[in-house]
Symmetry: C2
Subunit: 199 residues, 2 copies
């Protein structure tokens, strides 16, 4: 399979690439590096990137910015960051990707543990993760041509502990390699409309 | 209590008002009618409406536009309708409402059954409902001054059967008066961070 990994240069994206690259052709898309670069908050940029890549069999998105910070200081502006980037960026990868993906292909998006298990400062991220998870479940049975769509909700990554650990008291960290398995299940498996919680 | 009902002239809003008006002062806010009118998609309009109403004890939102239609024809534009209106409209009622609500007050938002139980054509609505439900759960424990926040997810209303019934095969319709009870529980009860499914 030709598998596009958007966010392919990030922590999760690299782990997913490592798990899939022996058996598949990987196309890494990053914000500033990779086989292609794109800005997922800009649908015209996504379209150009897809035009460059051409037909593919699976798309994995492990990309998206979202605001973290105390809810007391959250305004419309902070919420909008995640709506435009992590949410609409990933949704647009699906909406536009439908024109480029092969029959029977799959989309795999990324939410995150603070969706169903919020921490202090996660309000904007929790909102976006809820939107992504419900989007995937609703879109699954309306996709044509045997296309599938799933979402992975990774827990706090072991690799992210030094930076984010203090914000996630009591969360059991998950190695990137274990998170990557959920993406492999989505891409190489046969389920659709699922949210895989790796916690 | 002085209770603001945004969407107070709609099917759900009227049922909520009927359930609360004997014991409480009700301020109805509608798009084109009511004690006040506002456009929840415009945060400046919300601010002006709150300035007119002044201090209140509870806010119920049963308002918000969202696109329904086959996913095949959904583009960024159709998704944006719900993001700007039903989602950010209700989120902004909370973000801005924090400056007007009395200590110990409550916010009650509205998602809908197609969040956790999607139907054909509900992708945009499902996405918005997921965002609202996860927002409420994450925001609850960061609200100061004993403020509370909950969400009601109403099923298909009996009153909506003539218009929407055909789109909800197998859904058991719920009378508006029964849906209203969940709002009463949220406003007059003591829970926070809850999603009340009335199905």
């Amino acid at each position: 399979m030709k598998i596009v990994i958007v966010g392919g240069t990030g922590t999760v994206g690299r782990a997913v690439a490592a798990a899939l690259q022996e058996r598949h052709e990987i196309v890494r898309v990053g914000r500033t590096s990779g086989d292609y670069t794109t800005d997922i908050a800009d649908s015209a940029a996504i379209r150009r990137t897809f035009d460059g890549i051409g037909r593919f069999d699976a798309l994995v998105s492990a990309a998206g910015k979202v605001h973290y910070g105390d809810f007391a200081a959250v305004t419309e502006k902070e919420v909008s960051i995640g709506l435009q980037d992590k949410l609409m960026g990933q949704v647009n990868l699906v909406l536009l990707g439908r024109d480029y993906i092969a029959d029977g292909g799959s989309f795999t998006l990324t939410s995150g543990v603070v969706g169903h298990d919020p921490v202090r400062g996660s309000v904007c991220a929790s909102l976006v993760n809820g939107a992504l998870e419900y989007f995937v479940r609703a879109a699954a049975f309306e996709l044509p041509r045997g296309l599938r769509i799933n979402c992975v909700s990774p827990g706090l990554l072991v690799e992210s502990l030094p930076v984010f650990g203090d914000y996630f008291p009591g969360h059991e960290p998950v190695p990137g390699a274990r998170v990557a398995l959920a993406y492999v299940k989505s891409v190489a498996g046969h389920q659709t409309g699922q949210v895989y919680h790796v916690i």
